[in-house]
């Protein structure tokens, strides 16, 4: 388990990185960006990923920050997941994102892995894409033509693929303010503590006068990308926030799910079932959360 040969660059600035990526792209090189390396290093060692060139963002310390920009939480792409998990600002501003971060692996993994790296890696079993889909999340990327902002709905394309261009660097993740009244929960099912989830569900909703409003439910670990469970969202809209409706929403979510993945730990049927159970549990947990 040793990586195949590759060239290695560690640009000192973002501009340098973008210029390098552009040049390498023009030369037809197969390039991969490495941030923390938590996911990429094993893939390299197994020779599953074998880029010709590795561009390491490790020197871009300017991208390692967590800050509040007028009510919007902005996390630099190179901030570690453990820093996000430990941040009081993140906990206050985006409690769902903070809770999701604590579900990622173990502390050692969160120390190594970066927030930006995880989003850009777009592992279907990751908590982050699903959370991004139920929050108002935007991704800031810098390329040769400058900076652009990509909404979460347009960011995740398919299995481990985002809409980032080969010569773009993900620089920051932005979360619009999370209203204090808004309810949230994340539930996942993994074989062991810290494992990638076989299935997971993130929800946000409002409860007004006992009725569910603006329900957002997203599942992860079940398809090539995280997926909004729109049938269940629609079904719940305006319904009383009561267990039987949450359970029905779970059944609707499970039934409506297209073609879940199968693996040695969970068949497609089992995954479908888990989505229903987890959706109901997450909705119940969110509704019960003290305001």
């Amino acid at each position: 388990m040793k990586p195949a040969p590759f060239d290695y660059h560690a640009p000192a600035t973002l501009d340098e990185a973008v210029a390098l990526l552009t040049r390498l792209g023009d030369e037809g090189c197969d390039v991969k960006i490495i941030a923390g390396g938590q996911s990429l290093m094993p893939m390299l060692a197994l020779r599953v990923a074998r880029p010709e060139v590795l561009v390491d963002l490790g020197r871009l310390e300017a991208l390692d920050y967590i800050r509040d920009e007028g009510g919007t939480l902005v996390i630099g792409a190179m901030a570690s997941k453990q820093a996000a998990a430990d941040s009081d600002l993140v906990r206050r501003a985006q409690p769902l994102f903070q809770a999701a971060t604590e579900l990622v692996g173990h502390r050692q993994i969160r120390n190594r892995g970066t927030v930006g790296g995880s989003f850009a890696h777009a592992d279907p079993a990751s908590e982050y894409p699903a959370v991004a889909l139920v929050l108002d999340t935007e991704f800031e990327a810098v390329g040769p033509d400058g900076m652009r902002t990509i909404p979460a709905a347009d960011f995740f394309v398919t299995y481990m693929t985002t809409s980032l261009e080969a010569n773009e660097v993900l620089t920051a993740v932005k979360f619009a303010p999370f209203a204090p009244r808004r309810r949230w929960a994340i539930q996942e099912f993994a074989r062991r503590n810290g494992d990638l989830a076989l299935a997971g569900v993130a929800v946000t909703l409002d409860i007004e006068a006992g009725l569910c409003r603006d329900v957002r439910i997203a599942a992860f670990g079940v398809q090539a990308t995280a997926v909004r469970l729109t049938a269940a969202e629609r079904m719940l809209e305006g319904r009383p926030a009561q267990p039987q409706h949450f359970e029905e929403a779970g059944r609707v979510a499970a039934t409506a799910l297209d073609d879940p993945m199968g693996c040695i730990h969970a068949s497609p049927d089992y995954r479908r079932h888990l989505v229903g159970v987890l959706a109901a549990r997450a909705l119940t947990e969110a509704a019960a959360r003290p305001q």
């Binding site: 388990m1 040793k2 990586p3 195949a4 040969p5 094993p42 197994l46 020779r47 539930q187 099912f189 074989r191 062991r192 503590n193 810290g194 494992d195 990638l196 267990p243 949450f246 359970e247 779970g250 040695i264 730990h265 969970a266 068949s267 089992y270 079932h273 888990l274 229903g276 159970v277 109901a280 549990r281 119940t284 947990e285 019960a288």
Partner: protein, 814 residues
């Protein structure tokens, strides 16, 4: 000279044992925690090359051609090894049963995914792996044999064509009047069980550095070797070398558990060294290699078993049919694993008759290897599960059913139908203590309350007898050539009275160096800090075996005591001569040879040793100037097996009872362990902390086997597990910290009364968890008779019972 080995700590020549029986700090630990241990991958030799192995992607295929020309020309490559070299220079590796073995590298066809096909020695592992990609192998695919059923079907493709069958061994044992007890039984409780493949996963995989000295024809192998002497004999066989030309240097190991399949890696690295002009070649097995084709796969078993039971719950007969999927060959000595249950076939019970019908088959899965406990963990799961099924059918509490069937204290030494003799025990005492420790009535009340809410809680009360200290005769019955299991040491005092114990094994994690230091320090009356334990290379070490079969703690204790007894005799002779006293007036006490009636008159052992080494003029005639003694311990009173395999095979019989409480999540099938208690009795606890570590570690591996671990193959025999993402070892989050208590019933026959205790928790825990799961499922009328109890598997059962949907999600998990 007859040597009497003390069988109780009180017999040590000390006013009170100062180290034995105490949880002293382990002598191994300072180096471990400071990172100075010479694990094999830390070792670098001058001119060393690195080996990488090309492995078969096919489960069954003929090798048409291997082209290594591009690899040989690659950067840094010094030598490339193929099956043609191996055919020319080697014989197949040692196997049991004999003749079911592969060469260390495929020579004509591949029989499992991961089988070595070629290997490269290069100046770095990176370059060696790059070169592997340049080797071109042409295969002609053959139909794989995936299951025992396929293997035994007529006209099945043959894994070893020359054998004419895929059945490696078929053997029936009958002990007592089995037909009669089943005919006379009021109930016959029978079930089929499936134990899926699991296995050892030490932190450190196998590794070695081999150097073939072309000038004098000697092979030196440094590596993580669990049984160095055995490994040396095996290499001499497969590499066609005189046994005294193979030196095995055992480095400290990062765990073993039986799974370090060293023979192949050693042979390949050795042959590469031979091809590379004698330069040392390092091979470090990586985790993917280990999981695919190392020694980490064990127990791929199908059981059909029954108990004969009288109306009052007395169990009179036990019948087991086992079909064991050994995979592609018997290099892991699979018969041993299948035959070990003979040592405790009927567990803790007075079962008068038993039968064992054993079939081992070859398939295109990876060869299976030993794993902690050898055969009993699955066997005990079958026996204990049947006891629970019986309890349910007869509506007797499972603890009470066991109590009624226990071998009684006055019946020891007790010979089980399958022939082994249990040295001592009091099973009822352990049961009552663990029921109290767990507060069994409270657990049952908690279960009743939970059931009323529709929750699935289950409780188990599960026993084991752990045969300890295996001997040569245990496996003679299934075609294993005589493997002697001596354990030898040399105990030496230097001129200052420091003590060195030379042993034939190295560290593996269990703490045997500490036990050795405790015993020798107490006997010779020195401080543990004055003792050093040192590993001798296999060419100069005393006959030894090393770790394996729950024996080393007991065996090395016996060896040290034997050597110390010899030293006492020599030192007494010298002291008598110097002090001009009759030897009979002198005794060894607290590190001094002194007058029995006037202890102030005497000499310390350090004084005597110094005198012996420096003043030959003061020595009595015929005494060598050598304050050293060797002793090779072997268990007393062993006998040859009869035609039904019956013999006194294992010296000691430790025992334990576990009580587990689990809950099944009705919605997901997930099993959580809520409570776990253990009471055990392994005789004298030489180092109580070591024993507790063995118990807790056995529980961890048992949890893995019961709930998480499984080597999955598809219908074409392709392994679907090749990393720890899919092979799920339990972590600290999944393993319960158990409540523990114990009794001490010293073995009347073992050194210091200590019984082997390295495997018992692994025998018990899988059964305890599965029995608790089935207790939880009982209200649904369902049973899970397959391991591991993965959530998916349990969920399917719940689906069949219709409970998961009917009840719906039950709310939030926190």
């Amino acid at each position: 000279m007859a040597i009497e080995i003390p069988t109780l700590p009180e017999q040590l020549p000390n006013d009170a044992p100062r180290h034995v029986g105490k949880a002293v700090n382990r002598v191994e630990d300072p180096a471990l925690v400071s990172g100075t241990v010479e694990f094999i991958d830390n070792c670098v030799l001058p001119g060393m090359l690195h080996c990488a192995i090309l492995r078969s992607p096919h489960p069954h295929a003929r090798i048409v051609s291997v082209d290594t020309s591009a690899a040989l020309a690659a950067d840094g490559v010094v030598a490339v090894l193929t099956g043609e070299d191996v055919r020319r220079w080697c014989d197949p590796v040692f196997t049991a049963p004999e003749g079911w073995g592969n060469y260390c590298m495929a020579v004509d066809k591949v029989r499992f995914v991961g089988e070595p096909v070629a290997a490269v020695a290069a100046s770095s592992r990176y370059l060696a792996e790059d070169a592997l990609e340049l080797i071109e192998v042409e295969y002609e695919l053959l139909t794989p044999v995936a299951t025992p059923e396929q293997a035994m079907a007529s006209g099945a493709p043959l894994v070893f064509e020359e054998r004419g069958t895929n059945v490696m061994l078929a053997r029936k044992y009958e002990w007592g009047e089995v037909d009669r007890v089943f005919a006379e039984a009021d109930h016959v409780v029978s079930r089929r069980f499936r134990w899926n493949r699991v296995g050892a996963n030490p932190t450190e995989t196998f590794g070695c550095i081999c150097q073939w000295d072309l000038a004098d024809g000697t092979l030196t192998c440094r590596g993580s070797y669990q049984t160095p002497r055995f490994m040396g004999i095996g290499r001499a066989g497969s590499l066609r070398l005189p046994a005294n030309r193979v030196r095995i240097i055992a480095q400290p190991m990062g765990g073993g558990f039986g799974g370090k399949g060293g023979p192949r890696g050693t042979d390949i690295a050795a042959l590469l060294s031979r091809k590379a002009g004698g330069r040392p070649v390092k091979y470090i097995e990586d985790r993917m290699e280990y999981l695919l084709a190392g020694g980490g796969q064990s127990w791929d078993r199908y059981y059909d078993a029954a108990l004969a039971v009288k109306a009052d719950g007395t169990v009179t007969g036990f019948r087991v049919r086992l079909v064991d999927n050994q995979g592609a060959g018997a290099e892991g000595y699979g018969t041993i694993s299948a035959a070990k249950p003979l040592a405790a076939f009927t567990g803790n019970y007075r079962i008068e008759a038993a039968a064992y019908d054993l079939t081992l088959v070859a398939t295109n899965r990876a060869p299976s290897y030993p794993y902690r406990g050898y055969g009993p963990p699955p066997h005990n799961l079958v026996l204990e599960s049947l006891m629970d099924c019986t309890a349910r059918e007869l509506q007797i509490d499972p603890a009470e059913l066991r109590r009624r069937n226990y071998i009684r204290p006055e019946q020891f030494p007790y010979t089980v139908p399958s022939g082994n003799e249990y040295d001592s025990g009091n099973y009822g005492q352990v049961l009552e203590r663990v029921l109290a420790l767990a507060d069994y009535p409270a657990l049952r009340a908690r279960q009743a309350a939970a059931r009323a809410e529709g929750r699935l809680l289950g409780i188990s009360v599960v026993n084991t007898v752990e045969p300890g200290v295996f001997d040569w005769n245990a496996y003679a019955t299934v075609g294993v050539p005589g493997i002697g299991v001596p354990e030898g040491v040399k105990v030496a005092l230097d001129v200052f009275g420091n003590v060195t114990v030379a042993v034939g094994f190295n560290l593996q994690g269990q703490g045997q160096f500490t036990v050795a230091a405790q015993v020798v320090a107490d006997y010779l009356g020195v401080d543990m800090a004055q003792v050093r334990i040192s590993t001798a290379a296999s060419d100069v070490a005393m006959p030894h075996f090393g770790q394996g079969g729950s024996r080393l703690g007991v065996a090395v204790t016996g060896a040290i005591l034997g050597a110390c007894e010899k030293l006492k005799a020599i030192f007494t002779t010298v002291a008598a001569h110097v002090l001009q006293l009759p030897a009979d007036d002198l005794v060894l006490r607290n590190g001094r040879i002194q007058r029995r009636d006037a202890p102030a008159h005497g000499m310390s052992l350090a004084e005597i040793a110094g005198l012996m080494l420096t003043r030959s003029d003061l020595l009595p005639a015929g005494v060598e100037p050598c304050p050293e003694a060797t002793y090779v311990w072997t268990a007393p009173n062993r006998n040859a097996p009869d035609d039904q395999g019956r013999c006194r095979s294992y010296l000691t019989a430790a025992y334990a009872t576990h009580v587990a409480l689990v809950e099944i999540d009705r919605d997901t099938g997930r099993v959580d362990i809520l409570d776990y208690s253990i009471v055990d009795d392994c005789g004298t606890r030489l180092n109580p902390a070591n024993v507790e570590g063995q118990l807790q570690g056995g529980v961890a591996q048992g949890v893995g086997a019961a709930l998480y671990e499984e080597y999955v193959y598809d219908a074409q025999c392709q392994p679907l597990v090749s990393t720890f993402v899919d092979y799920l070892m339990p972590t600290i989050h999944e393993v319960p910290m158990t409540r523990k208590d114990h009794f001490v019933t010293p073995s009347p026959v073992a050194p210091l009364g200590a019984k082997g205790c390295g495997e018992g928790a692994m025998h018990t825990t899988p059964a305890a968890i599965l029995c608790a799961i089935n207790d939880a499922l009982a209200p649904l009328g369902k049973e899970l008779l397959e391991t591991p109890a993965s959530p998916h598997r349990v969920w399917k059962l719940l689906q069949e019972a219709g409970s998961a949907i009917a009840n719906g999600p039950t709310g939030t998990r926190t």
